[in-house]
């Protein structure tokens, strides 16, 4: 039941009506029932996976939380009696107890994700290694059906367990509340990967019918549908035509494919997140923003602070920092500074952590080499720009252009194209083909072909362009306005007639210009496959 199906809209309307008719204290229970119904619709057998993750998260987080409570109580009761050394030793013992439980929990839940998502990838690589060594027989592939949203809910629950381990907040004592946090249906398919302390306040509280909040939510949902159905789905055929035939579409067409895919993915993913956040809002649940105008970023590092924020911050908080400040890494930092000098010696541990994190970010997106290379290329660009930093500083000291509009525009365009080059690995799905296509950009000079009918030979007709160009411009204008203020606030200040006219225009746009229209199931969200 994807967001763009009739079934989903029908389902949403029913859940919405019941939500505000039900006694307020049961509102979250209703959302839990709705979420499990939504999940079961994708396949009843998948319920087992999410249930195992939920129950194991509950058991281990409760146990870890209780050890925290026990420790606090003991230290309080024996405040004056324990020496500083005794307190320290006691804390160490309790910490190692918590750590053991955390490791088991991570092993179970990441184990499920790992087995389901990566077994065949490992088998394929082992078989290819065997074949190279001259063996004729290989291992047989296993047929796992990947449960809906497993990468998202696994990361979300593991973030929760680590927070409990760190004592960031109290553990949730109600299994069913934790089950709703894990399975909340709008965010199950493609995130955002929420934090429990961000969600709990609005998710489990009682909500009255707030018409202005609900209408803001509906507006956001409609805007999301517009981006997805009018822009992303219409551009889909342009992208698939170009990347589907690398023998024909080379040189400038590869650049065109990158450009189309950048806009398609942005419209698809942010459109989906708009729908998710909008649905949260109509239920009075505040979900965090997952994007802050990423295509206006002036560097790749900045881009990753603004694109898929919940994933980036997950990796930063639960992987990059813990690895970087771990004992072995600090030891390595000391010895590398001694051996290699302050410059590179200082940066070496950070670089090692970055490579590990980007490798994992790549493989999180999919069990394939193209995603791993995608992650490592991102890492390479970030590390190279880090190394070039002194050069940038000297340049800026000499030519003070940082505030110059043209220079900033150059930085934005440069970042857009660097990311587009890396991102196209998603589409060709093969590292060799992608690099061959990169090569054709520099060897095949066919730029003018685009204007000799080429633009109409990439799966898009004149009518597609007539719809796409103003729609993409509208998306750009909305983003530009969003830098200063919220468009919805601006509209809210206008008369009711203007507001209705604006949203009627968007709805008609979706109905008339939506590439496939609501109910056309083949255009699923790109991120739902991760």
């Amino acid at each position: 039941m994807i967001f763009t199906s009739y079934e989903f809209i029908f389902f949403l309307v029913i859940v919405f009506a019941l939500y505000y008719m039900a006694p307020k204290k049961f509102q979250w229970v209703l959302l839990l029932v709705a979420s499990y119904t939504f999940y079961a619709y994708a396949g009843v057998k998948f319920l087992v996976y999410i249930l195992v993750t939920t129950v194991s998260t509950y058991i281990f987080s409760s146990r870890i939380g209780k050890i925290h409570e026990e420790q606090d109580m003991y230290l309080k009761q024996n405040k004056g009696e324990l020496s500083r050394q005794e307190r320290k030793e006691y804390k160490e013992v309790m910490k190692s107890k918590r750590f053991r439980l955390l490791v088991i929990c991570l092993f179970i839940n990441f184990g499920i994700l790992g087995v389901i998502k990566y077994t065949n990838f490992v088998i394929a690589n082992v078989n290819s290694l065997f074949a190279n060594l001259g063996f004729t027989r290989g291992l047989t592939f296993v047929n796992f059906a990947v449960p809906l949203g497993i990468s998202f809910y696994t990361f979300q629950t593991m973030g929760y367990v680590i927070d409990i381990y760190r004592g960031k907040y109290k553990y949730e004592k109600n299994l069913f509340k934790l089950a709703l946090f894990t399975s909340f249906f709008p965010q199950l398919i493609q995130g955002p990967i929420s934090r429990f302390d961000d969600l709990k306040e609005t998710m489990f509280s009682e909500h009255s019918f707030d018409s202005s909040n609900i209408s803001f939510g509906v507006h956001r949902i409609i805007w999301g549908y517009f981006k997805k159905l009018v822009i992303a789905d219409r551009l889909l055929s342009g992208v698939t035509t170009i990347v589907g035939d690398p023998a024909t579409y080379q040189g400038v067409y590869v650049l065109l494919g990158m450009f189309f895919y950048a806009i398609q993915l942005y419209a698809d993913f942010t459109g989906g997140i708009d729908i998710t956040i909008g649905i949260g809002q109509i239920f009075g649940i505040r979900l965090k923003e997952n994007f802050i105008r990423p295509f206006f970023s002036k560097s790749v590092t900045e881009y990753w602070r603004r694109w898929h924020i919940s994933l980036g911050s997950w990796f930063r908080d639960y992987m990059f920092y813990p690895i970087s400040v771990s004992g072995p890494m600090l030891k390595l930092s000391k010895s590398s500074r001694r051996l290699l000098g302050d410059g590179i010696g200082k940066r070496l541990p950070v670089y090692i952590s970055s490579i590990i994190v980007w490798f994992t970010t790549g493989i999180w997106h999919g069990a394939a080499w193209n995603f791993i290379v995608w992650g490592l290329l991102n890492c390479l660009v970030i590390l190279v720009s880090q190394e070039l930093e002194p050069l940038y500083v000297r340049f800026h000291n000499r030519f003070d252009v940082r505030a110059n509009f043209t220079f900033r525009l150059f930085q934005v365009v440069r970042t857009f194209w660097i990311m587009s080059f890396i991102r196209i690995l998603d589409c060709y799905r093969d590292v060799g083909t992608t690099f061959r296509m990169y090569g054709t950009i520099f060897t095949k000079f066919n730029f003018m072909e685009l204007f000799r009918g080429g633009l109409l030979e990439v799966g898009l007709s004149i009518s597609d362009y007539i719809v796409l160009i103003p729609s993409v411009l509208l998306m750009l204008v909305v983003s530009l306005i969003g830098r200063r203020t919220s468009l919805r606030e601006l509209l809210a200040e206008r008369s009711q007639a203007v507001r209705y006219a604006a949203f009627a225009a968007i709805i008609f746009g979706i109905i008339i210009f939506g590439a496939y229209g609501i109910g056309y199931d083949s255009s699923k969200f790109i991120y739902s496959q991760f």
């Binding site: 600090l330 541990p349 950070v350």
Partner: protein
């Protein structure tokens, strides 16, 4: 505090660490800076800063970071 200011100024000589209280919020310190900073602080003050303490509230200003160092030194 002086030792800490020295470490910070070596990282970003152009920033006034005595007055700036938005080092993280304004992206003056990025994650690479934070890790370099932690390695140096751990060395200088002989403490361990665990990952759970890497939150904006602790790193937004030199003062807050110094408070964290004092807290961790006390716990040791």
């Amino acid at each position: 505090m002086e030792e800490l200011l020295e470490i910070l100024e070596e990282l970003h000589p152009d920033v006034d660490f005595m007055s700036n209280e938005r080092l993280i919020d304004d992206h003056i310190l990025d994650s690479f800076d934070i890790i370099t900073l932690i390695a140096e602080v751990s060395d200088e003050f002989d403490i361990l800063i665990p990952a759970e303490e890497i939150i904006p509230e602790n790193f937004n200003s030199a003062k807050s970071l110094y408070r964290l160092i004092e807290k961790l030194s006390d716990e040791d």
